[in-house]
Amino acid sequence: MVLILQLIAQGAQMALVLLLAPLLLGFTRKVKARLLRRQGPPVLQPYRDLLRLIRKEVVLAHNASWLFRSGPYLIFAATWVAAALIPTFATDLYFSWTADLIAITALLGSARFFLALVGMDVGTAFGGIGSSREMMFASLAEPGMIMIVFTVALLAGSTQLSEVAEFMVTHVTLRVSLGLALVGLIIVALAENARIPVDNPATHLELTMVHEAMVLEYSGRHLAVLELASALKLLLYISLIACIFFPWGLAPFGSGPASYLIGLASYLGKLTVGGFLLALFETSIAKMRVFRVPDFLGIALMLGLLGMLLLFVSRSF
């Protein structure tokens, strides 16, 4: 019985993230538009876009290879699995121990790896630009991420997200290391999701575009899958931040449906706040030149390292 409940919960989470992802995107866009005194597209617009793309025919370049066609599904799958392993409304879901924080980071890495590959498949100049810059960002974002993971893990004594969340809930104390880690994680999240100031998701035909440049040759259902994957990624990072730094309201292991509902409500709340803050941040800051991004990400790396060292200073294990 419990097992079944557990499986249901796990499945629910997988479905949940999949459903919520476009909504979050739409919400963020809406808020942005409003902050810019625009009407903006309706919140459900992303769903419409996806459906429209799915109905469209696919235009493939002559020399597109099998990798080009299978890539989107792999990318989507990796991102989805990663997102499904992050506690959203409940901790200790049945498969939560499948991958710890490091493994989740690595899963996103795999997604990025294939994204950069498919970007180079057709052999256009733009694809190359996108892939090479994406990998350059990643080369700094990933160690930053790992450093943040170290900080959190050393504090909580575990790299399992559920454990971390529970630790944070039970005996968290205000720590400078955590603050640094939070800032670092936000920076990494912005970079990974190609948001301003690192990249501008709303533009095309701009020499500074990175993510869009890689998917430039895609169309139809492939593009839809990729869009969904990137939406999932955004959701993933926001829920990651939420689960590590604001883990309140998460339903603990084996608790009844009621607490699950509470967890769900709090999760939706967190997403809303996150999306709103993101929009606010993006409207209030300008995009930076590509070669200033490394410094930006370097800050994240430094913050992570600093946070870890401060841990030792503040408390010697």
Binding site: S65, Y73, M135, M136, L140, I146
Partner: protein, 673 residues
């Protein structure tokens, strides 16, 4: 029967085979015969080693032959450690031989490859078997010598000769360092048998460690002793490159472990302080150098340097933990390192096989002349992709599993008492993460430029898929990469007795954990399940594909690439390997390589093309090796005047020597009386 005896018989067979190969090298069948026999022997020894490693009752596997040092004889012994490395050596050897069954047919001068190849295999096996210092060094240097002969197999190219020269000098340098180390371990009485060394403690274990670090490190490719490696490994025929990169560097690691963990007594805490930062530097410098290459095989060779760094990080951690008597963490670190040894031997060989296949198909090693091969050689492309994913430490393949374990070991570092290590280890963790990310970038470049896009040369345009034997070898290793990635628990359990023997501890039994996930320390601390990750990804990918294909329109139209409407897509407009690396060069290059870009942009109306020239400097080479070479040349020049003195001047030298000695003698006698 005694496993050591069996292995020795196989080694003897290999040596005999190399003699036979000299005789039959001219025959057309020579290639097939040689490699087939090598394959059979390697498989046999592999089975012996695995049987010993996993067998419940391990027969005593030592024996002594009346050869080598007369009053000591040649000792041979198989223990758990050597069994593990025997397995690696012969697995790699078997795959390389299988691959060479196809690849070797394209060799234009088989007479310079066939005799040395079995001898090389024999040498590596002997190193692992050896149980006394003389036999060990004998085999070690024999291994270097035979591989040197293979490196200069294509000797018409001056580059290869230079590579071979630098290689043999560095190898002998390393051997001499090891020789000194053994001199210390053996002591003045000259007790060269490993058993005696274990029994007696070395005079200066610290010095021994440094010497071994130089000796084994120069063979394995630790910075700054790595310079020969990116020259020599690519120069050899590809199946030999695979052996050198995938297996011989592991034999060097074996030498390090054997001496430092087994013979040199209990470690001191500062050893790890020496080893770990060196390893971290090796990682980063290796991968950055790899990113700057556009020669495919050289890129792979530089990645060997990086992975050796990862392995030595694990070894350094194991030293740190066991120096403080923490057996379990030490076991974790050592397991991570040994596991990575195994993984790297798999995917590095696989990648070199792929490079060889490309070489035979296009006669090109330079990626700038390749591209679009995924259409011409789909199967090679698939296996190569698997290798790329594995070496980039991406789940669910094996590279990630071992790096994940290394990270777990790093996360245990706070329990170390010494503050130096507390601070160094996490910093090295950052370096490890950095190098992992850069490696991913590097292999996006390697695969993307080589296989994707459009062909940049006619050879690449009409390449052909490689032969069956090679493909079999490649697919076998690709599958092994996947299996090792999704079922790491079994390998960890297989390694447990080895770590128990070396650091007196073992990781918890993994096979019994539900769903076959791996738990290095405790369920609550961290766990990873490659199998489930793989299954989930597979399921959800299929699910998505299925769903989409149900819902979506099947309409599909082929057209020219859009590229934002940019017309006339010539292959030259693609990103090249160098241009792909340019952003990373901008970020790291100025500091590490003193990279300078000279842009020559003609003014409007000027017809000449715009040019960009990039200059990179290898600081290690320039700051260490050039001065040494220059110094030698300088001294040689100065001393050379002595060749041209007149007889009278030579007589004066004799005269001065005589008078000088007499004066010395006078003083001695006066002092004595």
């Amino acid at each position: 029967m005694n496993p050591a005896a069996g292995t020795l018989w196989s080694v003897a067979a290999l040596l005999g085979l190399s003699v036979l190969a000299v005789a039959i090298a001219r025959r057309p069948a020579a290639t097939r015969i040689t490699y087939a026999v090598c394959l059979a022997i390697c498989i046999a020894v592999f089975i012996i080693a695995i049987a010993y490693l996993l067998g419940a009752d391990r027969p005593v596997a030592a024996l002594q032959l009346p050869v080598g040092l007369p009053w000591i004889g040649a000792h041979f012994r198989i223990d758990l450690l050597s069994a593990f490395f025997l397995a690696i050596v012969n697995l790699g050897g078997a795959a390389a031989s299988l691959y060479a069954l196809g690849y070797g047919e394209h060799e234009e001068s088989p007479g310079r490859v066939l005799p040395f190849y079995p001898a090389f295999l024999a040498g590596m096996n002997l190193v692992v078997l050896a149980d006394d210092a003389f036999t060990f060094l004998f085999a070690w240097e024999f291994m270097s010598l035979t591989s040197w002969a293979l490196v200069i197999a294509h000797h018409e190219d001056a580059e290869n000769r230079r590579a071979g020269y630098i290689y043999i000098v560095m190898a002998s340098f390393g051997t001499l360092a090891l020789l000194l180390a053994f001199g210390l371990l053996a002591g003045p009485s000259g007790s060269y048998a490993f058993a005696d060394m274990r029994a007696s403690s070395a005079a200066q274990p610290g010095l021994v460690l440094l010497l071994v670090l130089i000796g084994a490190g120069s063979k394995a490719g630790l910075v700054p002793l790595h310079v020969w490696l990116p020259l020599a490994h690519p120069a050899a025929p590809s199946h030999v490159s695979a052996l050198m990169s995938g297996v011989m560097t592991k034999v060097a690691v074996y030498g390090f472990i054997r001496i430092v963990f087994d013979l040199n007594g209990p470690p001191a805490w500062w050893w790890s302080v020496v080893v770990i930062p060196l390893a971290g530097a090796t990682c980063v410098l290796g991968v950055l150098s790899a990113l700057m290459q556009h020669d495919l095989k050289r890129l792979l060779a530089y990645h060997t340097v990086e992975n050796i760094g990862i392995i030595f990080i694990g070894l350094g951690l194991a030293l740190a933990f066991s120096a403080h008597g923490m057996a379990a963490p030490a076991a974790l670190a050592l397991t991570a390192s040994l596991f990575h040894v195994f993984n790297h031997s798999l995917f590095k060989s696989l990648l070199f096989f792929g490079a060889g296949a490309i070489l035979t198909a296009t006669h090109e090693r330079d990626m700038e002349h390749l591209g679009g091969l995924i259409h011409r050689m789909p199967l090679t492309a698939f296996t190569f992709l698997a290798g790329c994913v594995a070496i980039s430490a991406l789940p669910p393949l094996n590279g990630f599993a071992s790096e994940w374990l290394t990270f777990q070991a790093i996360l245990l570092s706070p329990i170390l008492p010494s503050w130096g290590l507390k601070l160094i280890v996490p910093a090295v963790g950052a370096m490890l993460a950095l190098s992992a990310a850069l490696a991913a970038g590097c292999f996006v470049k390697a695969f993307g430029v080589t296989f994707l896009g459009r062909a940049r040369s006619s050879q690449a345009a009409d390449a052909h898929e490689t032969d069956g034997a090679s493909l079999t070898a490649m697919f076998a290793f690709a599958v092994l990469c996947l299996l090792a990635g999704i079922l790491p628990g079994f390998i960890i359990d297989g390694l447990a007795p080895v770590t128990e023997a070396l650091v007196g501890g073992r990781m918890p039994v993994q096979a019994s954990i539900p769903w076959l996930s791996i738990v290095p320390v405790a369920e609550s601390r961290s766990s990873y399940n490659g199998l489930l990750v793989f299954i989930f990804i597979a399921i959800s990918a299929l699910l998505a594909a299925e769903a989409i294909h149900r819902l979506a329109s099947q309409a599909l139209r082929r057209g020219p690439a859009w590229d934002c409407g940019f017309p006339d897509l010539r292959p030259e407009t693609q990103y090249t390997a160098d241009s792909f690396a340019q952003p990373i060069r901008r970020v790291f290059g100025e500091m590490v390589f003193l990279a300078r870009e000279h842009v020559d942009m003609p003014p409007p109306g000027d017809a000449r093309p715009a040019r960009i020239a990039v200059t990179l400097r290898d600081l290690v080479w320039d700051s260490i090796y050039l001065p040494i070479a220059g110094g030698t040349a300088y001294v040689a020049d100065k001393l050379n005047y002595l060749q041209f003195l007149t007889i009278r001047q030579f007589l004066s030298v004799v005269f001065v020597a005589l008078v000088g000695l007499l004066v010395v003698l006078m003083f001695v006698m006066l002092v004595w009386s």
